[in-house]
């Protein structure tokens, strides 16, 4: 048991040769392949990392877009709510105006109906009153009342204005005088009436003055003179008609 120098040297050479051969046939290829695989894994890892970062960036972008859309949606919703509120207020205002107009129309119709009813009541009341007075007048009317009516007629003739007197004179000259009485005019009363006209017109007509006479019981009492378009006189019926018109016109004047 010892060391053989030749074998020692040979083994040193053998080891160096084996080192060179394994380096060429084993270590270099296997290290190259492992390095390539590591590089490939590193590349894939980098690519995956990059893809992950891109995905995160995309996710961040999508999140931002979603937030923007959400903000837009909220703004749009608020705007729609505001428009809806404005539209509702507008419709409410229109409805209020329509209701107010309807209420105004109703009030006007009510007032109109009330006025019509009041007019009807007043007309009916006037008619009833006039009818009652008319019946009273008819019962009170007599020859004496007729005579006093003629006196009133004579005073009204004296109160005529110049134009009316001229018209009366013209009608007298044309023979267009017509006396209407409630009772049958006696000669005495006819002469009294003609004398009153004659007294008004003066001496020009003298004894030539002529007039027609007729009876109208509807006058109740009194006398009227129609001379062309002129009409003058005093009758109970005219008084009642004035009273009825005046009664009916009370509400209108107010």
């Amino acid at each position: 048991m010892g060391i053989d120098v030749f074998t020692l040297i040979a083994q040193l050479v053998n080891f160096v040769v084996l080192l060179v051969l394994l380096r060429a046939f084993l270590y270099r290829p296997i290290m190259r392949v492992m390095r390539e695989r590591e590089q490939r894994i590193a590349d894939e890892h980098a690519a995956a990392k990059e893809a992950g970062e891109e995905a995160e960036a995309r996710a961040e972008e999508l999140r931002r877009e979603r937030e923007e859309l959400e903000a837009t949606r909220r703004e749009r919703l608020a705007e729609i709510e505001r428009e809806a509120e404005e539209l509702r207020e507008e419709r409410l205002a229109e409805a209020r105006e329509e209701a107010e107009a309807a209420r105004e129309r109703w009030r006007e119709a009510l007032a109109r109906e009330r006025d019509e009813l009041a007019d009807a009541v007043r007309g009916k009341a006037a008619a009833v009153l006039a009818d009652a007075l008319r019946r009273g007048w008819r019962e009170l009317a007599d020859e004496e009342l007729e005579a006093r009516a003629i006196e009133v007629f004579a005073r009204r003739l004296d109160g005529l204005e110049d134009g009316q007197r001229s018209a009366l004179a013209g009608a007298a000259r044309g023979g267009e005088l017509l006396f209407t009485t409630a009772f049958e005019a006696t000669d005495e009363r006819r002469e009294s009436l003609l004398a009153a006209v004659r007294s008004l017109l003066g001496e020009d007509h003298g004894e030539t003055l002529e007039a027609d006479f007729e009876r109208d019981p509807e006058l109740i009492a009194g006398v009227t003179l129609r001379a062309g378009d002129l009409r003058v006189g005093w009758t109970a019926r005219a008084q009642l008609d004035d009273l009825e018109r005046g009664w009916a016109g009370i509400g209108e004047e107010g």
Binding site: I3, D4, Q11, L19, L26, M31, V33
Partner: protein, 232 residues
């Protein structure tokens, strides 16, 4: 009974007699090169790799991890040297179970040659990494008076490296041979398996010690250089 394959002459080439140590060493070398060529001829960097490539990559990754753990450095420069040591010793020891095979590591000459390789590799890697001046200065630290002891330490650990491997492998072979002659049936098989385990462990120990020695010539100096650079 022969204790060393150096004494077994196999054939002669001219004036040189080729003993079993050299013959089986060449056999191991041829086997390793052929297997390496056969496995690496169809290497692929894709994810789908063959079984041989898978085993080879696992072995290389194991060696790289071991070197990295010991040196705390990039293991790639040391892989061919340490890997070759491990593969040669491992193959030699594993094939010792084959009847008729004389493991070269059972020769003190072979283990001495491997230890000498480590002895040379330590300054080679140290000078390559630190430079000649810095590496040689390491022998004078912490005191020039310790230079003889440092040299004795270098030689003694190299000698220990050679004798340890030789002793373990040779003793296993001797014990197996003795038991084979005394108890020829069951017990020698157990001892062969035990010897196989011892052989694998010794291959690992030899490679680890080699990288430890190499690291002592590079890492420690590097640590000292870094410590000196700190005040700057």
């Amino acid at each position: 009974m022969t204790l060393s394959p150096d004494t077994i002459a196999v054939f002669a080439i001219g004036p040189w007699t080729i003993n079993a140590t050299l013959a089986f060493s060449w056999l191991i070398m041829a086997l390793l090169v052929i297997v390496s060529w056969w496995v690496t001829r169809s290497l692929t960097a894709s994810g789908d790799i063959g079984r041989g490539q898978n085993v080879l990559e696992a072995l290389v990754a194991f060696l790289l991890d071991q070197i990295r753990e010991v040196t705390n450095q990039d293991p790639k420069p040391y892989l061919p040297f340490v890997g070759t040591l491990f593969l040669f010793i491992f193959t030699s020891n594993v094939l010792s179970v084959v009847p008729g095979f004389q493991p070269p590591t059972g020769s003190l000459t072979t283990t001495a040659a491997l230890a000498a390789c480590v002895f040379v590799a330590v300054p080679v890697f140290g000078i390559a990494k630190l430079g000649l001046k810095e590496y040689l200065g390491n022998y004078l630290r912490p005191s020039p008076f310790l230079l003889p002891f440092t040299l004795i330490g270098e030689l003694s650990r190299t000698l220990a490296l050679a004798v340890r491997l030789f002793g373990n492998v040779m003793s296993g072979s001797v014990i197996a041979a003795i038991l084979l002659s005394v108890v020829p049936l069951f017990f020698p098989i157990v001892m062969q398996v035990f010897g196989l385990l011892i052989g694998v462990i010794q291959a690992y120990i030899f490679a680890i010690l080699a990288i430890v020695y190499i690291a002592s010539g590079t890492e420690l100096q590097e640590r000292r250089v870094r410590a000196e650079e700190v005040p700057q």
